[in-house]
């Protein structure tokens, strides 16, 4: 009996909290037919926003994947002064409000900021793609690190040492032993990073200046549409955003369908 209660409790909670609102978006988006929704997401402005979103993610995700793996290796496999501090700093983006992140970047790169001079040299950071990429990288930094660190701890160093005694130089040890051992953690981290990069609103909103048709990512575009009372356009673009997110998760499931099973 209590098992059913638990099951219905969990399902009910999820339905009410997650499925119902997202489902409503889908419903409202297709209310006036698929054609109408298609038109709404293929306007030049919407397409540009989608392109920009994907571009920012295409730079931020690989960068944070590579850096995340290196950082995780440094945290687990080496001892250095200030390791505890670095470990804490990695979690900062999770704790800090994205708007604050945006403002911090604004202060650094804005007029009068430490690196504000870059704009005078023709390197535009704020109100341009570089700033949006930086903001997104800041926000999505922890995901790969946090997924990889516990797995690195768990696998230990014996396999790497065995490979070393068998003649493998450090890079080969990494490529043939370490990387395959952490691949699912990396993949999961990439999915979370991607999802967050695509959906990021607050920090990007501050640094982008929200120039319509120029520095608007999909989340910014959606909010803009909503505020200008084009609700069906906002809903349709929301569906695009939701589909990308769902697609990422499904892609991971497809290549790694037995996530629950241990790989021991």
């Amino acid at each position: 009996m209590s098992r059913y209660l638990l099951r219905f409790g969990v399902l009910g909670y999820l339905a009410l909290l997650l499925l119902l609102p997202v489902g409503l978006i889908f419903y409202r988006a297709f209310e006036h037919g698929i054609g109408h929704a298609w038109d709404a997401v293929t306007t030049p402005q919407a397409l540009h926003a989608l392109e920009l979103t994907l571009l920012v993610a295409a730079i931020a995700v690989p960068a944070n994947t590579v850096f995340g793996i290196i950082l995780a290796l440094a945290l687990v496999r080496t001892r250095f002064r200030g390791r505890g501090l670095v470990n804490a700093i990695v979690d900062l983006p999770l704790a800090l409000s994205p708007v604050v992140v945006g403002l911090a970047l604004f202060l650094l790169y804005g007029r009068g900021g430490w690196l504000g001079g870059l704009a005078d040299d023709g390197i535009r950071i704020l109100f341009a793609v570089p700033g949006m990429v930086l903001a997104t990288m800041f926000i999505t930094l922890p995901f790969v690190v946090r997924e990889v660190v516990p797995v690195l701890r768990e696998i230990g160093t014996e396999q790497e040492q065995a490979a070393e005694t068998l003649g493998a130089p450090p890079l080969q040890v990494f490529r043939r032993i370490t990387l395959p051992s952490i691949r699912w953690a990396v993949a999961y981290g990439v999915v979370l990073t991607t999802a967050r990069a695509i959906g990021e609103f607050g920090a990007v909103a501050v640094v982008s200046g929200r120039i319509v048709g120029k520095t608007e990512t999909l989340p910014l575009y959606i909010q803009g549409q909503y505020e200008s009372f084009d609700t069906s356009g906002a809903y349709a673009s929301s569906v695009v955003l939701a589909l990308i997110a769902i697609g990422t998760v499904v892609a991971l499931r497809a290549v790694h369908p037995r996530e629950e099973e241990s790989e021991s």
Partner: protein, 327 residues
């Protein structure tokens, strides 16, 4: 194939001295055990020889070459770890082939070598399995094949049977002994189990607190231990004041005898052929006597019975070392 020499090796970890000025020679082609309790430095010595730890002082020679400054990958050692260190994402075949793949050997040669090794370690037919589909004993034999694949000049085994259950451990011990007779590669096995060391190795190096206590054949260690520690570590021992007596050198009689002292039987433990008698003297000192089943039957020992005990062989250690004498 080469011998191994460690010269005045010292290794510290955060102020803890794991190896204190250790020198030892491992003869070419021998099977040598590093024996000692945990924390004695035996594993550290093995890892220093492998190149997985860098010593603060001292030298390591493999053959006649000084390898102290060489990384592990360039030392030509084969290493087997206590917890197998199996490459979990590779098949048995790829595990064994790893060293050869790194060396970019042609596929046909690798296949041939893997096939030979699978036969040698009796894992034929399991080439396509993953380590998670093997038993502990099978995994360790795979690890051994992997280490042997690159034809190492020395084979280093770090508590290789420590994670296995008692029966498999015994099987693998005698198997390793036979394997060594076949392959003849200079081998060091680290163990804390004196029985394992004495059964497998031709030479045993006893370590304690980062220092070498004694080096010798199993028989020398047992019959002529150089100090109290070695005597106690390689077998059970009774201490009677300044003298040490092995339980099988304790004669138990029913009648008083010259040189014998009185003791009471506390417990009689039947272990098949061996019967262990726990005794207590009137001064409260406990001691153990080891009898054969036949002897025990003749004596008909019972709990609470008074018997007369005389050591037939005892050892006294002077400052300079042991001097066993027979009484």
């Amino acid at each position: 194939m080469s011998g191994i020499t460690a010269i005045e090796v010292t290794k510290r970890f955060n102020g803890f001295t794991a190896l204190d000025d250790v020198s030892v020679t491992i003869p070419e082609g021998s099977l040598t055990a590093l024996l000692g309790p945990s924390g004695s430095g035996k594993s550290t010595l093995l890892r220093v020889i492998a190149g997985l730890e860098q010593p603060e002082a001292g030298q390591v020679l493999i053959g006649s070459e000084d390898v102290t400054d060489r990384p592990a990958r360039a030392r030509g050692v084969g290493m087997v770890f206590q917890h197998y260190a199996a490459f979990k994402h590779m098949t048995v075949r790829d595990n064994i082939a790893f060293g050869l793949t790194i060396r970019k050997r042609p596929k046909a040669e690798i296949d041939k070598r893997v096939h030979e090794l699978l036969e040698l370690v009796q894992l034929e037919g399991l080439a396509k399995r993953y380590p998670s589909q093997l038993s502990g004993g099978q995994r360790q034999r795979m690890a051994l094949a992997r280490a042997l694949a690159v034809e190492p000049s020395v084979l280093l085994l770090d508590e290789p049977f420590g994670a296995l259950d008692a029966r498999v451990r015994k099987e693998l011990r005698s198997w390793l002994r036979r394997l060594h007779d076949e392959v003849h590669v200079t081998t060091i096995i680290v163990t804390h189990d004196q029985e394992e060391a004495m059964e497998v190795a031709g030479q045993v190096v006893v370590l304690n607190e980062g220092r070498i206590e004694q080096i010798g054949s199993p028989r020398e260690l047992y019959d002529a231990p150089s100090n109290e520690f070695v005597m106690g570590f390689v077998g059970p021992v009774n201490r009677l004041g300044e003298t040490f007596v092995r339980p099988h050198d304790v004669d138990v009689r029913l009648q008083p005898e010259e040189g014998a002292f009185e003791a009471m039987v506390e417990r009689v433990v039947h272990l098949g052929f061996e019967v262990r008698v726990e005794l207590v003297r009137d001064d409260g000192q406990h001691l153990l006597a080891q009898l054969t089943q036949e002897e025990a039957e003749q004596l008909e020992l019972e709990r609470g019975q008074i018997v007369y005990v005389r050591p037939s062989r005892e050892t006294v250690f002077s400052r300079s070392g042991g001097s066993p004498r027979s009484a």
